[in-house]
Amino acid sequence: MCGIVGLFLKKDELRPRLGDMLTDMLITMTDRGPDSAGIAIYGDAADGLKFTVQSDDPAAFDGLAEALETTLGVSIPVTLKDTHAVLLVPTEKEAAAIEALEARDLRIMGIGEAMEIFKEVGLPKDVAERFGLREMGGSHGIGHTRMATESAVTTLGAHPFSTAEDQCLVHNGSLSNHNDMRRRLAKKGVFTKTENDTEVGAAYISSRIAEGATLGEALEGTLKDLDGFFTFVTGTKTGFGVVRDPIACKPAVMAETDDYVAFASEYRAFADLPGIDTARVWEPEPATVYFWER
């Protein structure tokens, strides 16, 4: 199964409430995915790059700030959130920071000026609590509750997957040509970190964008190049997109008001959104790309 939620705010007044609204939506989708949960949240663009890193052992973060300062020669602010830490790295130190973090066996969940990613194994309400998702503000965010089918229940197998700066993807469904696509992407120098099918979908979209495609064009490409069942919701620094495969057996519903665009696997997730009773609510068409950019 799996549950997906997404929220793209059109007005700044709601920004402080983004995390709170998304958390309620995410918890409502627990029945669809109790194995793990994750959220990507796009906050204020930082002066530099936000690295979200993860370790199963929080002790791994002890002395991290000092060690990075020694290696990179600049002070790196580190904010700890349970098993994750968010680091603010000057853009020109990106490559050196990746090397330093990998040397310490820390997993990089995502890098971006605006995006932070938090995901863990466990019930959505517990995951949300551990990271303090309710307190997070931002312009847009996407979340996922996973019922694993294609690969193991692990932190790295949880969604969202990020395969490029400020880009992430959540998925309900299963891809059947992911091994072939993984090999094709590897030939182009695009490598994935896990055996997961969704990560291949994310890497495909990222590689198309890197080649010059718009988000809309990259999503259009998934209909031709990816085989299997999928409802994808993707986030970029400025945008939010949705596409369903032509068979469209994975559920999807959208709602739009003057204040926001919302996506969910089921209408239930919208029940607490402000103004939902008068929102335009519709089911996205199969094989049709929807995206919003600010």
């Binding site: 469209a248 057996c249 559920p251 089921e266 209408y267 239930r268 997730a269 029940a271 609510v281 089911e283």
Partner: protein, 227 residues
């Protein structure tokens, strides 16, 4: 009118209350408030009860309905009125996938659009959709009538048996073994009756009829290479 508030009462209690009332001869109409997209609302009703749902529902609303009238003043999730036996289900908004699937009888009215697989494997139910329907609708439909005031998506009536399909708007494509058929007086009569019962403002003459070419009923040896 007795009201069940789903923000206060558990789904199981709501359905048990309704099923109990449907079993009595003269039951008052019931109203359900705050459905908040819940699954399986007003399922398994087995008698002449009237239920109004004030809001949108999730999966399988009014499933297996028999004799009862269920009116949803909102939209319905996947599988609304699935395997309905008789009675009436009216959805004021849209219906998601496989509305009225496998229904044996009764009338399902969707005042908005229905998405993919509407009336899949229908076995005698009448479905009237005021808006459009999605792809693969009436797949393997065996009996009953599907009336669409708007447009139909791809592969309408694929592998159809004896259900009758009436579409006023365009049909994106017909599925295997589904063809347009002549509209005869008896069809116009059936259609006029269904349009009236569904409160649909349309004339029977505006519709086209589609049905089975009956070429898939038996194995055709000339097609052996295609399997």
């Amino acid at each position: 009118m007795p009201t069940l508030d789903m923000s206060q009462v558990e789904l199981r209690e709501v359905n048990q209350t309704l099923q109990g009332a449907a079993g009595t001869q003269i039951a008052e109409p019931y109203e359900i408030i705050n459905p908040r997209g819940s699954h399986a609302v007003a399922c398994g009703l087995n008698g002449p009860l009237t239920v109004t749902v004030k809001g949108s529902t999730g999966y399988y609303c009014a499933g297996m309905n028999k004799d009862a009238t269920v009116h949803v003043e909102g939209s319905a999730g996947p599988g609304v009125a699935e395997n309905m036996m008789s009675g009436t289900v009216v959805i004021d908004g849209d219906a998601s996938q496989y509305a009225g699937a496998t229904g044996h009888g009764g009338l399902l009215v969707i005042k908005g659009n229905a998405s993919s697989r509407c009336g899949i494997s229908m076995k005698g139910i009448d479905i009237v959709v005021h808006g459009n329907i999605g792809h693969m609708s009436a797949f393997m439909a065996q009996k009953g009538n599907l009336v669409v005031l708007g447009d139909a998506g791809e592969a309408l009536g694929d592998s159809l048996y004896e259900a009758r399909l009436f579409v006023r708007g365009s049909v994106k494509s017909l599925g295997a073994d589904c063809i347009e058929k002549e509209m005869r007086p008896e069809h116009l009569k059936v259609l006029a009756n269904l349009l009236e019962k569904a409160g649909a403002d349309a004339k029977p003459e505006e519709f086209k009829r589609y049905g089975s070419a009956r070429k898939l009923y038996n194995f055709n040896i000339d097609h052996a290479d295609e399997y």
